[in-house]
Amino acid sequence: MNASAGRLSLWLLLTPFLLWIVLLVLVPHLQMLRVSFQVRESWDTLAWGLEQYQNFFTESYYWRTFVRTGVMSLFTTFLTLLIAFPIAWYIARLARGRAKGLLFLACLVPFWASELVRTYGWMILLRESGLFSSWLQALGWADGPVEMLYNDVAVIIGLVYNGLLFMVVPLVTTLDGMDENLVEAGYDLGGNHLTVLREVVVPWAMPGIVSGCIVVFMLTLGSYLTPILMGGKDSAWFTGQIFTQFITRFNWEQGAALGVLLLVLSSLIVWLGLKLSGQSLRKVMG
């Protein structure tokens, strides 16, 4: 192949990529940023201004939900990691042969169903007329129907459930590649369970932990279905507010500003997570 043919094939391959990234990612996001700084003066005139952002800070409902969504997402991510780690350890290091494959498969199965189906399943279990409530009554532990849905605990149960796969898979992958001699050496040098876990296992699994945490955090922060369907009146989620601005109130300027804020929050936390753990986006994602 001569040089000009090489250049030609580069451009042939580069063009679809650039069209995709520029037309579907970069330009729309820049436009969203632009619209968020617009203020509607009348039905067809716009001015530049910070009004949408001022609304966010003066209207406590907005920023409270924002902080709440961020904190709950972090908590959910942490909880998912805690729950998934022993499972991943078992699958990667203790289970053998068929059991290993079957257990791993069992973790994947729920994710062949959509988030909507999973959330719906939890609603059937948790609501007042639901299964848990009926069981409690049948066992005589409750006198009447018990409502377990529509509160923050229910939301977190659902969110953790949605995130599990994305935590288990990267953990299993990194733990699988660990050399058992490292762990044994840790014990030989006098470490107990806790020190070996902290000094050997966790550092080794760090890339998996970080990629799992980033994906789960992102999915949780940006989830809409689970918090809306399982949360109560007080469990507002920030994506719900964005939806309301766009679809219900048709206030695109305010919605765009809220969207930008959510994007800033998620990017900031993902970036911080990468910095603090010394990982790179390329390493954990690609």
Binding site: V25, H29, L116, Y120, I124, S134, G222, L229, S266
Partner: protein
């Protein structure tokens, strides 16, 4: 905590109990959803009133309309299928092109473009939807107001949904296909060239067959992800509602076992697709 390191018996017992509890937690919501699709009662809750297929087959005469007679849900299913088809075609095509671009070619700014390629994975789905809505639908509004030109393709509807989903599904397809291309032995291609094949012929007779399992895997994944997507879709959908959005609207009105019937159908459908994709990739591994 390793096979060769001794553990206490109560720790083992505790660990086992935890494992069991975890897998029960994992299985419970899906199991109840599936089981209540066959309960002969108007609500998906206890007590169990007997087995019925009404939630699939009832034609509305007995006050019950089963899934196969529910026109709204069936048309939503069709809308979702059409969307998923186009998303799969576009994402897999982009995935192939991108994989070759990043695995085979050297050019300036490659590292930066690779990071751009990963970007959609760290943008919340709702934001992807919102930004596309603001840009394209806003453009359609402006064009209509300023020049009286109607750009209906860019109003909320199927085209925008496909565009929104392609944004991030193309990244995933690229990663799947690139991973396989990385393992390809380039000497095979060179051998084809030595034997007189043109680069294009070598690509189609040697490289593409090697990539085929990952292309099919990426296609199955793209189809499933598109079918299930809600967060991006809900911002971009127009009057032709896809299934997830239709189910969501139903669910807000209150749940009936028809929803369980749809849910079970979705689970079985995606499980079949996943098993097929996994089986194929194992054959060719």
């Amino acid at each position: 905590m390793i096979r060769s390191v001794p553990r206490s018996r109560w720790f083992d017992g505790l660990y086992l109990a935890y494992l069991v509890a975890f897998f029960v937690y994992l299985a419970l919501p899906l199991t109840v959803t599936a089981v209540f699709a066959f309960n002969d009662a108007p609500f998906p809750s206890l007590p169990w009133k007997g087995f019925t297929l009404d939630w699939y087959l009832a034609d509305g005469s007995g006050g019950r309309t089963g899934l196969f007679h529910d026109d709204t849900l069936l048309s939503a299913l069709w809308v979702s299928t059409k969307i998923a088809f186009w998303v799969t075609v576009v994402s897999v095509a982009l995935g192939c092109v991108n994989a070759v671009l990043f695995e085979r070619l050297e050019f300036r700014g490659k590292e930066f473009l690779y990071l751009l390629m990963l970007l959609p994975l760290v943008i919340p789905g709702v934001i992807l939807g919102v930004s596309i809505l603001v840009f394209y639908s806003g453009m359609a509004n402006d064009a209509s107001r300023l020049w009286g030109v109607e750009l209906d393709v860019f109003r909320p509807g199927m085209t925008l949904v496909v565009m929104g989903q392609v944004t991030f599904i193309a990244t995933l397809a690229t990663l799947v296909i690139a991973a396989r291309l990385r393992k390809f032995d380039r000497q095979l291609e060179e051998a084809a060239l030595n034997l007189g094949a043109t680069p294009v012929v070598a690509w189609f007779t040697v490289t593409l067959p090697w990539l085929l399992p990952s292309i099919l895997g990426a296609a199955a994944m793209a189809f499933l992800m598109s079918f299930e997507n809600f967060n991006t879709t809900v911002m971009l959908t127009g009057s032709d509602t896809p299934l997830t959005v239709a189910l969501f609207n139903r669910l807000r009105e209150g749940s009936t076992p028809v929803l369980n019937a749809v849910a079970l159908l979705l689970m079985v459908g995606s499980a079949l697709l996943a098993v097929m994709a996994m089986g194929r990739s194992r054959d060719n591994a």
